[in-house]
Symmetry: C2
Subunit: 229 residues, 2 copies
């Protein structure tokens, strides 16, 4: 049975960009599972499969699962014979730390710095929704939010220092090979790669080497969506 | 056979304070192993058991192991029947991420902010060594280094946000129970608790609740060394 993945797109349906949907796409590929993608605009999310208010959502036969972490747990549980996404109970617990780190230290800044780029990717209907909901969330206009985010980008580059230090020991957060924790961080950099033409990192940043390794995984799945130009 | 742990002390030998030695003490207690502590001043480290230039070092029979992470790996391998320190290969890999995060995001600042407190804990001979080596490392006097560190404490409190977000899912970095990754972060807060009378965190910070849980572990091992007054 092929899994259905509902993933976020803008006006170009060939360019899914949501960090959380990318985590799931990479997790599905990691497990060697087939899936079909249902391209979903922001204003098409509510009520997908009755699952609520966010993407990703997957349907696997009769089973509906939403939330990227829950989906990864579901895939690990239903396909224990396929390559591991967590590598045991310690890896499952610490992937939550990696998720919390990514959300609070990276995504909070990236979501502001790239807010105009994201807006510009969307269909007109989605743009109206996005502007209203984000201006309410940030308590600022989109361009003010962008300015705030861009100001924090140098600090964000510093916050990636744990990855750089870790590379002295191993090439992936998962060790010698990637695990779901890698896809959590990958999702954020892939999001920005797809929506924004501005380079986020310095060309010689070892984090970019890791990101390139991730883009090569699973027959270059991540690379199949070209970078924003 | 009782394990010997060489751990750093200042002029009061009952108050071991090194973050890295605390990781190992907690790991030994986690495994339910007996150990005897050899109290070691900074100027007594060189040449311990021929192992090199840092503590912790353990001797287990004929085996000498140095470096806190290597010691934890050694304990996990030699005592697979005791409670797990890593919880599988994923947990082992991600503990490296937690270590890199702790070193770069926390310890780098804490080591400067508390540098005078650490200095003041030491014997006169160690104080001379410490001042010279730290002034060379920081390229600044100890009081300048302290000033730089203290300035960054508000930012450091922000860098703990990943832990606060994670607590929505689980009480420990290791999940429902602690793993070595918890002891990595615990070691840093315990270090500051023992050397510095200045409160590092706000009283209502959820990170303090987690730290209290860690202090209670293993019959209150961490609490047996009272906080600096």
């Amino acid at each position: 049975m092929t899994i259905t993945l509902y993933e976020l797109v803008g006006k170009d349906e060939t360019r899914p960009f949501s960090p959380h949907c990318w985590k799931v796409a990479m997790a599905l590929a990691h497990k060697g599972l087939d899936w079909t993608s249902v391209k979903t605009p922001f204003t098409g999310i509510t009520g997908i499969e009755g699952a609520g208010k966010t993407v990703p959502v997957i349907r696997d036969g009769e089973r509906i699962v939403s939330d990227s972490f829950q989906i990864a747990l579901y895939l690990e549980k239903t396909h224990p014979d396929r390559p591991a996404l967590f590598g045991g109970p310690g890896g499952e617990a610490m992937a939550r730390f990696v998720e919390s780190w990514t959300q609070t230290q990276l995504n909070a800044v990236l979501g502001m710095a790239a807010v105009m780029d994201i807006h510009d990717c969307l269909s007109p209907t989605d743009q109206t929704y996005f502007r209203k909901s984000r201006e309410a969330r940030f308590g600022a206009t989109l361009s003010e939010a962008k300015e705030r985010g861009v100001e924090k980008l140098p600090e964000l580059r510093g916050r990636l220092q744990p990855l750089r230090a870790m590379f002295a020991h191993q090439p992936y957060i998962g060790g010698q090979t990637p695990l779901f924790a890698d896809y959590i961080v990958f999702g954020s950099l892939q999001w920005i790669r797809i929506v924004s033409p501005d380079p986020l990192l310095e060309r010689d940043d070892p984090v970019l080497d890791w990101f390139d390794r991730c883009l090569d995984l699973h027959d270059g799945l991540g690379r199949k969506t070209p970078a924003a130009a």
